[in-house]
Amino acid sequence: MEIMPIIKLYANLRKLAGTKEVSIPGASLEAVLSELVKRSPALERILLENGHIRPHVIITKNGHPTTDMNAPVIEEDEIAIFPPITGG
């Protein structure tokens, strides 16, 4: 069975993808992200640079920020993707 974790998008990613939330197949963060960009090419310039995650893009898995793109994902995982943001 295909693993379909939920991906939540924030800030300008929503406008570029045309949605706030999407289910994307993939067994690792890298696979999920790759598929996401394939489906919404407008996200690529924000998220990727030479095929790698751009600096300061924030990805959380179940509320925990991670930079490990090889991390496995399961059906129940909630992945959130934020473009570079700051504030205070």
């Binding site: 800030a11 924000i46 300061h56 509320g63 473009p83 570079p84 205070g88």
Partner: protein
């Protein structure tokens, strides 16, 4: 003289006289300007015998050598005083236009002493200082007063207090340029205690720059760097600071309902995305700022600046309110009354918890958006429960028998970040020299946003070195003075290069950061002289013993004790948090021992 004007203006309100004298340039070299210079002057002027609301307390307005040079974000300025909220050293800084205009009058520092017999306002036009009767202005709100006194962004700028400051609310702000606030710690109450309603500045000068060609090149480079950074060219202009709402909620570090929870189910409704989509009219910017993070938002009732992230959180998640128009409106009312929105919102949240638990007889309950406007009005005019809320959450909660429900450190209410989900932020709050504050070295960059790199937010060991680095860097930036957001695109190294080009004094990056360390230690010494000890470097019991029961921060409390021990050691302080002689010698502070 390059960068600095080299002059201090000192006003005595009791006699309505003034004098000018040279800035001690050795002091300026060691403390630069802004927060650092203000703290150094306060050390000499206000000792432990002075009550913060007594005429003997002073207001020290400082700009820095970069102010008004045209360097990106060189608009900021500081006010330094003894805080009526915390009793600690206090500086609050603000952007807008007033700081630039004050620098153009030819002064680096304005010291206001004493108390006027009747309300006055001061007008500074270059070297001419005039005292005006403010009896007919006393009672006016900020927006109307600012207009009446002739606010004109690039020519004439108004700084004033509203009713909150007049009524000596210990969470009263000093407002400038209508909606910019020197908010934290109650400087507005100090101004009110002096019967000083407003200070208006008009200047025609410009600071001299030592190496104009080098400065021009650095301006060009900085512009390029800010344009290249997605943070300063996209994130801040597009969504403002409120964009942090969803990420903080996502990771379970958004303090909710007076820190009873760490996630708010209504976060999306009060997020930066929602604000931008439904209420944003346009962006605005402070003088010489290419970033433009200010939001001009509009509801059916108000149109104006803000709200910022901390404000939206304080009246939102912290009060259990998901009504964004109500938050925009209460933000505008606070600006008009001259109130610190973080402390005001968090004090209401504290009153809501006291009421829900039966410790206080009031109709306040979490989620009651309809009561927010009334609460802040009552605070500013000290009506009913507002009389207690006007002095902040700690004094109010203590009066009702439950000081542990005040979410504050040293009496200053925390901002949005719940430190149970960010251990370093907990250490930062506990050691902050002005109380529970994120502007003293926010750890959100390192612990959440990966700026400049992501570190483990739950890790305890080794965390103190990151906190110290941030604290020192922030103290240096606050002393230049430039906006901390510039630092998102421009490394500390650039600031040192600009400082050198402007002043002609060669500051290495390490020397500039050392200024920050010097300022931090001086502020620590000031607080020690005021009677603060190791026991004040702490957090409310809730954050130390009550772990969130769900969400990504489930099971975590702040592991303060081991971090604090490590912090003191790394700072070169003894086990009681007192700077050692060797450290003070290293920083050139032995003359203050």
């Amino acid at each position: 003289m390059n960068g600095w004007n080299g002059k201090i203006l000192e006003i005595d309100l009791a006699t309505q006289t003034y004098k000018t004298y040279p800035l001690d340039m050795e002091m300026a070299y060691l403390f630069i300007g802004g927060r650092g210079l203000g703290a150094r002057l306060l050390w000499d002027l206000v000792g432990p015998e002075v009550d913060p609301l007594a005429p003997e307390n002073v207001l020290i307005f400082t700009n820095g050598p970069l102010t008004a040079t045209g360097y990106q974000t060189s608009n900021r300025f500081s006010v330094t005083t003894k805080s009526p909220l915390t009793g600690t050293v206090l500086d609050a800084n603000s952007g807008g236009f007033w700081g630039m205009q004050f620098k153009k009058t030819g002064y680096d520092v304005l010291i206001v002493r004493g108390k006027a017999q009747n309300p006055v306002w001061i007008e500074i036009k270059d070297s001419v200082v005039a005292f005006h009767d403010a009896s007919d202005l006393w009672g006016m709100r900020v927006f109307a007063l600012t207009e009446k006194l002739g606010q004109n962004n690039n020519k004439r700028n108004v700084l004033c207090i509203g009713p909150a400051g007049e009524n000596l609310s210990r969470i009263a702000a000093i407002m400038n340029d209508r909606e910019r606030a020197m908010a934290r710690g109650g400087p507005g109450a100090v101004m009110g205690s002096k019967n000083l309603k407003a200070i208006v500045v008009e200047g025609s000068g410009r600071p001299e720059i030592d190496d104009k060609e080098r400065f021009k090149f650095l301006l060009y480079e900085t512009r390029k760097l800010l344009a290249a950074s997605p943070l300063t060219s996209q994130a801040l202009p597009e969504f403002g600071t409120v964009v942090l709402m969803n990420i903080m909620n996502n990771i379970g570090a958004l303090a909710t309902r007076n820190h009873q929870q760490t996630q708010f189910e209504g976060a999306e409704a009060i997020s930066g995305e929602e604000l931008t989509e439904k209420y944003l009219v346009k962006n605005a910017a402070c003088w010489a700022c290419p970033i433009g993070c200010t939001r001009i938002s509009k509801t059916e009732k108000v149109e104006g600046e803000g709200p910022e992230f901390e404000t939206t959180w304080a009246f939102g998640a912290q009060c259990g309110v998901d009504d964004l128009p109500a938050i925009i409106e209460v933000n505008s009312i606070c600006n008009d009354l001259g109130l610190d929105t973080i402390s005001a919102g968090s004090t209401i949240a504290c009153a809501m918890e006291l009421s829900e638990k039966g410790y206080l007889d009031s109709d306040l309950r979490f989620g009651r958006a309809d009561l927010l406007a009334r609460c802040v009005e009552d605070m500013a005019y000290r009506r009913d429960l507002g009389a207690d809320m006007a002095d902040g959450s700690l004094r109010m909660a203590t009066k009702f028998g439950h000081p542990e429900l005040s979410m504050s450190a040293k009496g200053m209410e925390f901002p949005a970040y719940d430190p149970r989900g960010m251990q370093g932020q907990g250490l930062l709050y506990a050691t902050s020299n002005r109380g529970g504050c994120h502007m003293r070295g926010n750890m959100v960059g390192l612990e959440v946003l990966g700026l400049p790199k992501l570190i483990d937010r739950f890790q305890v060991q080794g965390k103190s070195s990151f906190v110290i680095l941030n604290q020192n860097s922030n103290a240096a930036i606050d002393s230049l003075v430039v906006c901390k957001f510039t630092n998102m695109g421009v490394a500390d190294e650039y600031f040192a290069r600009v400082l050198s080009a402007v002043t002609g004094i060669q500051y290495a990056t390490s020397e500039m950061i050392k200024v920050g360390e010097r300022v931090w230690n001086l502020e620590r010494l000031y607080n020690i002289r005021e009677g603060f000890t190791r026991k004040d470097d702490t957090l409310p019991a809730r954050l130390l013993t009550e772990a969130p029961v769900d969400g990504p921060s489930k099971g975590w409390v702040v592991q303060l004790e081991p971090m604090l021990k490590e912090y003191y050691r790394s700072r070169g302080w003894d086990e009681n948090g007192v700077p050692k002689k060797q450290k003070l010698e290293e920083l050139g502070l032995t003359n203050l021992m």
